[in-house]
Symmetry: C2
Amino acid sequence: MTALTERKKKILEAVVSNYIETADPVGSRTIARTCRIGLSSATIRNEMADLEEMGYLSQPHTSAGRIPSQKGYRYYVDNLMPPGGPDEEETSAISRSLNADKMREIEQIIISAARVLSSITNHTSLIMGPQYKRSTFRQMRILPLDEKRGLVVLITDTGFIKNKVIELNQSLSPPELQQVVSYLNQKLFGLSIDQVTTSLINELKRDLFRRMELLEQAFILLEESLKEEEQVRVFLGGTTNILNQPEFKDVEKIRRMLSLFEQESLLFKILERNLGKEGVVVQIGTENMVEEINECTLITATYKINNRNLGTVGVLGPTRMDYSRVIGVVRCLVDKLNESLNS
Amino acid sequence: MTALTERKKKILEAVVSNYIETADPVGSRTIARTCRIGLSSATIRNEMADLEEMGYLSQPHTSAGRIPSQKGYRYYVDNLMPPGGPDEEETSAISRSLNADKMREIEQIIISAARVLSSITNHTSLIMGPQYKRSTFRQMRILPLDEKRGLVVLITDTGFIKNKVIELNQSLSPPELQQVVSYLNQKLFGLSIDQVTTSLINELKRDLFRRMELLEQAFILLEESLKEEEQVRVFLGGTTNILNQPEFKDVEKIRRMLSLFEQESLLFKILERNLGKEGVVVQIGTENMVEEINECTLITATYKINNRNLGTVGVLGPTRMDYSRVIGVVRCLVDKLNESLNS
DNA sequence: TATTAGCACTCTAGAACGGAGAGTGCTAAC
DNA sequence: GTTAGCACTCTCCGTTCTAGAGTGCTAATA
């Protein structure tokens, strides 16, 4: 793996940036003309042949221009890419959309973020909703609704609020209920939701059971309301943006992409894998290890609440995307999102 | 507008059902062969020419077969359509998916309904989430979170639970807060959320203000948490199903449909217009009065909780759809949904 | 009078063809 | 090492042609 000469770098950079812009295979003549490198097309042809042999470029067919290979994009992102990002107007659009009406509901903020991200990048955005499991138990309440039912409210340190209607054991008097609830609050406070596992609950149950024999029912319910929270939502923005990309003019490809978007659990896995990685992560083509998006690039970053990695935001588009710009936008958005969520 | 002869009805029925099945314009020969009406293709040709003149059929071009016009479909639905609906297996699939784990969260049930509806019909399903405004106020609680913030919980008779984090006025002591809350509960109980308008709140505020002068803050917050609820969610299922329809093999059409699906408020308007209409409503082509779905048929029905019309469920597909089947499925689904929500 | 057989006509979809244009690789000259 | 020149390849796009399906009309038939 020898390093590229300066000239090869220049040419590779020219091919990639040109192809990003036009989506057409780029020929030697084009490069000779556009970037005023003092070389003839023939020389460039030779260099391009080299670059192809080394795996940075490829040819759709003889007598077409070259397009970057996955390796070519990777080299571009790692070494050649110019700095870029949102301009002031876009930056302030991001800020505005996240702070509008100083909304307090996390979900609203996330949806808003997905929307602005897709509209600025012109790609599809995906944002993993905050992960409940990584939060810390803060308090629990039970509100009686009527004779038979009650509302369990769980609150975490990250502002997550979960409620669930439960059947109440009739034999529980309000004061008894109150007693259980405050006992639980005391015991569970500060534990991460992950730690509030079934086994811990069982332990508590045994402990409490000795003193108050009526309350089994209540525990089953707490257990249930925690268990169910496994599923985390993924919010999408601009799913139709892929239709604007010339590489998706084939209905069959569109179908595959869109049906991917309907599989929330798969999207979740894709995003979760990048949860907690430092900075902005770029996964080009097969690097993301998911067959359905082998022809796409995924750019992700992790957002935090209370200094915990709670979720991932990402942009999905064709490998031919404006890397420097999108990377800059994602970075900007995550920063603002962190500000907004931690204020 | 003279009535159709028996023979014309038979032929129209044959054209429509044939076209629904094959998506190809149907010719006179086909009809002469398939439905064993004792007539030659020439006779059928004459009758079809009549039907075209009367507006029930149309021709994509000379020397193609006929396809039903909007008027033709309408006549078919009103007069000719055979009975149809889900088979036993599908019926039980609907039941199962709505009762699974006897889930109590309305939203979960609705999502589940959207999913099963689209998978059985092979079309896109849209379901309007339950309309908050049409519910009745049941009770309100305020849980203190920390020194500065509290959680307002509103509960309606239809099982709708809304919570919102609010800034608490420091000068409110817990007992004072409690007093306000119970006052409000007493005053608002049983009113429809629609009735709890800003003006009523203002009135209460004046009333209460005389007695307790510190609590203005609390009212602003109640007001806010009600106001925000305007937006109602629309849940979609099977949005990619339209890609399977041959009438949507054009990328441009797909784009228009899909971007319609991203406009939740428009979808909401479409569904809301049919809220409360009796039975299953079929709107063919331009009948639905929305330009974006002029080439589609929308089949809707209203579901209820506590005997109130809370939301609309619908199926959207090309005008060429299996009417009797889809109508039957929608009817079945709404019945089960009502059972499930009111149990 | 209603129905049918026959036939000429129309229109589309798809295959076959051909030329223009873009780009390449190679060779020989600079 | 670089460049000019040239033959070659491949795609794209418009044209032409044919097969096939279906029609409308006319004349014969029951």
